[in-house]
Amino acid sequence: MSDHQQFCTFFLKDLIFGVEVLKIQEVIRYQEMTPVPLAPAMVNGLINLRGQIVTAIDLRNRLAMPPLPEGELPMNVVIRTEDGAVSLLVDEIGDVVEIDSAGFEPPPETLRGIARELVDGVYKLKSGLLLILNTAKTVNFTAASVADPSAPQQAA
């Protein structure tokens, strides 16, 4: 049980998230995006990744967090999924950390809402708690399945 795993970390608001390093294709700066009308608000747009068209998902919106303050540009964490690459928009990118899997705990019972679905578990780091994001579940939604009229249309 003492094998080590590597996680790429990134920040959203005041939380630290981690995704298994092997699932990450690349991390790139903010790219110009083409908004997709009629798409769920959590889809921020499409980016051109060297000739490949990649959907950019606003991770703050996906996790029901308030949007990034005006003027700040997110980073793209491009992850590999079964259906090609998908980009997750995050506030800032952190380090790659190597963690002993013994420090893993399931998400606390008090965690509610969408985060409960998307967070696989928690690692206790010295600097805080690292939330492990389930990427497959994060990108698994369709325009039809998230009909949230309350969510504002994304500002292009």
């Binding site: 908004p35 997709v36 980016i47 051109n48 939604f141 292009a156």
Partner: protein
């Protein structure tokens, strides 16, 4: 022999054998038709011989022994010791099915399978013995038979033939070996390599230029690059192109088997086999085409006796034609069978609850033909194994439309039916019109584009008539529903308000409508890229593409946009989720023209019956034989005051009105003008006739937009009016 080598050899055997067996079937059929040349018999023999030989080498005993029996019979035939009969051909075709089954099993599970073919083998053996004592099998001649020749490169052995041999497991899901390989002309490959060479040189030039900029040299280099890329694109496309004959090769066999099963006689004529299509498209249309062929034989052609009575040759004729036209491939299927009886089609559709009796009565011929593409439709009296379950043609249509094609059908009762399919040459790179709306660029595929209309100044304000929420434009007198792309997609218009109106007239599902966009840019060849699964369900977009500046632009799916804006009724979707919705099926949504003709209440007729809306000044009205007429497009068009013919309407509210508001109704080349007092609106609504009417000229009443509205019975009004004017019209 290593496992890997063995597997490679087996793969080769599979590809070679599937191709060979297709050729085997084809040649057998020519033999049966008596059209065999001297080489035919040799080709047939060689196929089986090679399979036997290769299978023997690889230790596939069962295939070897099965092929051996066939070979023995064939060698007798080839040497003229026996004469081919129809039974023999049937038995040999069974043999080829059996071999195919074993090969497929080999592909899927690595073994030859357990199927028992002893009955078939015994039959083949008995045939050898029948006329003359069994001659010893001719010893195999070396080399000469081991090679395949000829251009037959059929990639597509496919389960799902009429008689799939004993349902052995097929390579479920994954592409079979023979589907994953393709033959390319070596010359073509050399040409590709040359072009790639030039491309590399061109790249070097440009890279150099980046280091030491020289505008003139860069210009030359980019022109060269442009040229090379275009040529490369063409050449690569060409390697992907395959003659449509590749999928047609199966048809003679299917036609023969079906005809025999049904006791019909069919002469299959194929023209334009060499017409080339992209591989992906070939794959996509394989099943739909097969379905149409089966349908034509099952439903289209009559039994020989019936044909004789009708004065036609006993042998039915099914013609397949393929040809290129305007960047598209046309495929036509014509039979000289029964044709489609529209009355029967309509009554069936009503019976099955696909349309209302009301709709049926108003339907034109063309619309009636298209009914057979509705899900759940079938005219077959009884369900057969071949067709008649009412699934199929709708799938054919959907599949063809999915790849940007269209299906059209024409028929003459008693004389036959023609199905016309138009499909694009390729799916990967398409010409498209770029437009801008809400500050974003969108691509509209050229195939769905009809024309562009630009209104400026006065016209922009006046020519678009908006009543309630349905804007329309009179395009050469025809009503064109408009969809504002900004509004439909929830975008903010960035163009100056109302200065210019750009209308892109497009066609989807046989319906025309106008897309209002902020600006029209240019046509461009775009590379179609799929959208991620999170966005797939947005029907308005067919994909995305990358523009010259590196930005992403969305490709509009015209059909999806139309559905989103509910221009096209969703009748087609109703049948899909059958049962629960059956009561809704009767009242499919319709586009209706609302107008007033009497003092009291609104009236409606389906927009599909309206040819044009016109205004005539009162002084243009002339009288002949007690009938009011106007000169209209070089014809004399009678005018009918609707108010006079609907019950109770003695009053004439349109008296004194100038100009006259006229709804032009066309039927069989004759136009009639219906004079109304006011055109109110065009609505798209589910139509439920609440109360059928005893009043003359009214079909019934329905609630449309919260108002009770009478549905006008136009044919009956014309009939009534006609008694007074028929002499003036036709004599």
């Amino acid at each position: 022999m290593t496992d890997k080598l063995q597997q490679q050899l087996i793969n080769d055997l599979l590809i070679e054998s599937f191709e060979g067996l297709d050729r085997f079937d084809r040649e057998l059929l020519t033999l049966e038709n008596g059209a065999a040349g001297p080489e035919t018999m040799n080709t047939i023999f060689r196929v089986i011989h090679t399979i036997k030989g290769t299978a023997g080498c690889l230790g596939l005993g069962k295939i070897e022994s099965t092929a051996h029996v066939g070979e023995s019979l064939l060698s007798l035939l080839r040497d003229g010791k026996l004469h081919p009969t129809s039974e023999m051909v049937t038995a040999l075709l069974e043999l080829s099915d059996a071999l195919r089954g074993m090969l497929r099993n080999l592909e899927a599970s690595g073994s030859e399978g357990q199927a028992d073919h002893s009955a078939m083998l015994a039959k083949l053996n008995a045939m050898q013995a029948a006329p003359s004592p069994a001659a010893a099998p001719v010893p195999a001649r070396p080399a000469a038979f081991g090679l395949f020749e000829g251009p037959g490169n059929d990639q597509s052995e496919h389960p799902g033939q009429p008689r799939s041999p004993e349902g052995e497991p097929t390579a479920g899901g994954r592409a079979s070996v023979s589907d994953s390989a393709i033959r390319v002309d070596v010359g073509q490959l050399d040409k590709l390599m040359n072009l790639v060479g030039e491309l590399v040189l061109s790249r070097n030039q440009i890279m150099q230029n980046a280091a030491h900029p020289d505008p003139a040299a860069l210009l030359i280099a980019s022109q060269r690059l442009n040229l090379i890329t275009t040529e490369l694109q063409g050449s690569v496309m060409k390697t992907r192109m395959q003659p449509i004959g590749n999928i047609w090769t199966k048809f003679p066999r299917i036609v023969r088997d079906l005809s025999q099963e049904l006791g019909k006689r069919t002469n299959l004529v194929m023209e334009g086999q060499e017409t080339e299509l992209d591989r992906t498209i070939i794959e996509a249309i394989k099943d739909p085409l097969t379905h149409i062929v089966r349908n034509a034989i099952d439903h289209g052609l009559e039994l020989p006796a019936a044909r004789a009575t009708a004065g036609k040759p006993e042998e039915g004729r099914l013609v397949l034609r393929a040809f290129h036209e305007g960047g598209q491939v046309n495929i036509e299927f014509s039979d000289d069978g029964l044709g489609i009886d529209t009355t029967r089609v309509k009554s069936k559709a009503v019976e099955r609850g696909l349309i209302t009796a009301d709709q049926a009565a108003r339907m034109g011929e063309r619309e009636a033909f298209n009914l057979i593409f509705l899900p759940g439709f079938s005219t077959a009296e009884k369900v057969t194994t071949i067709s008649g379950r009412g699934v199929g043609l709708d799938v054919v249509k959907t599949n063809i439309e999915k790849i940007g094609g269209s299906v059209d059908i024409h028929s003459n009762v008693g004389a036959g039916t023609t199905v016309k399919i138009k499909i694009p040459l390729t799916l990967a790179i398409i010409p498209a019109l770029m437009v801008t709306s809400g500050g974003e660029r969108f691509a509209i595929p050229q195939v769905s584009l009809l024309e562009l209309v630009r209104l400026d100044g006065e016209d922009a304000r006046k020519k678009i008539e908006t009543v309630y929420n349905a804007p329309v434009y009179r395009l050469r007198g025809l009503l064109l529903p408009l969809v504002d792309l900004n509004r439909d997609l929830g975008l903010e218009s960035k163009a100056g308000a109302g200065a210019v109106v750009n209308i892109v007239v497009v066609q989807a599902d046989g319906r025309q409508f106008g897309l209002v966009v902020d600006a029209i840019n240019d046509t461009e060849e775009i590379v179609v890229k799929p959208l991620g699964k999170q966005l797939k369900s947005i029907s308005c977009f067919a994909g995305a593409t990358i523009m010259g500046d590196g930005r992403v632009a969305l490709i509009l799916d015209v059909l999806g946009v139309a559905q989103h804006a509910s221009i096209i009724s969703e009748v087609r979707d109703h049948g899909v989720s059958n049962e629960g919705k059956s009561q809704e099926q009767g009242d499919a949504r319709q586009t209706l023209l609302l107008f007033r003709a009497t003092k009291d209440g609104c009236m409606a007729i389906p927009l599909s019956m309206v040819a044009r809306l016109e205004e005539f000044p009162r002084k243009a009205v002339e009288r002949t034989g007690g009938q009011e007429v106007v000169q209209y497009r070089g014809q004399i068009m009678p005018l009918i005051h609707v108010s006079r013919y609907v019950a109770g309407g003695v009053d004439e509210p349109d008296a004194g009105q100038d100009p006259l508001q006229v709804v032009v109704y066309s039927d069989q080349g004759r136009s009639v003008g219906l004079v109304v007092t006011q055109i109110s609106d065009i609505v798209h609504e589910a139509l439920t006739v609440k109360r059928s009417s005893a009043r003359d000229g009214i079909l019934g009443s329905a609630v449309i937009q919260k108002r009770v509205t009478d549905l006008l019975d136009v044919p009956s009004i014309i009939l009534k009016a006609d008694s007074g004017l028929v002499q003036t019209g036709s004599n």
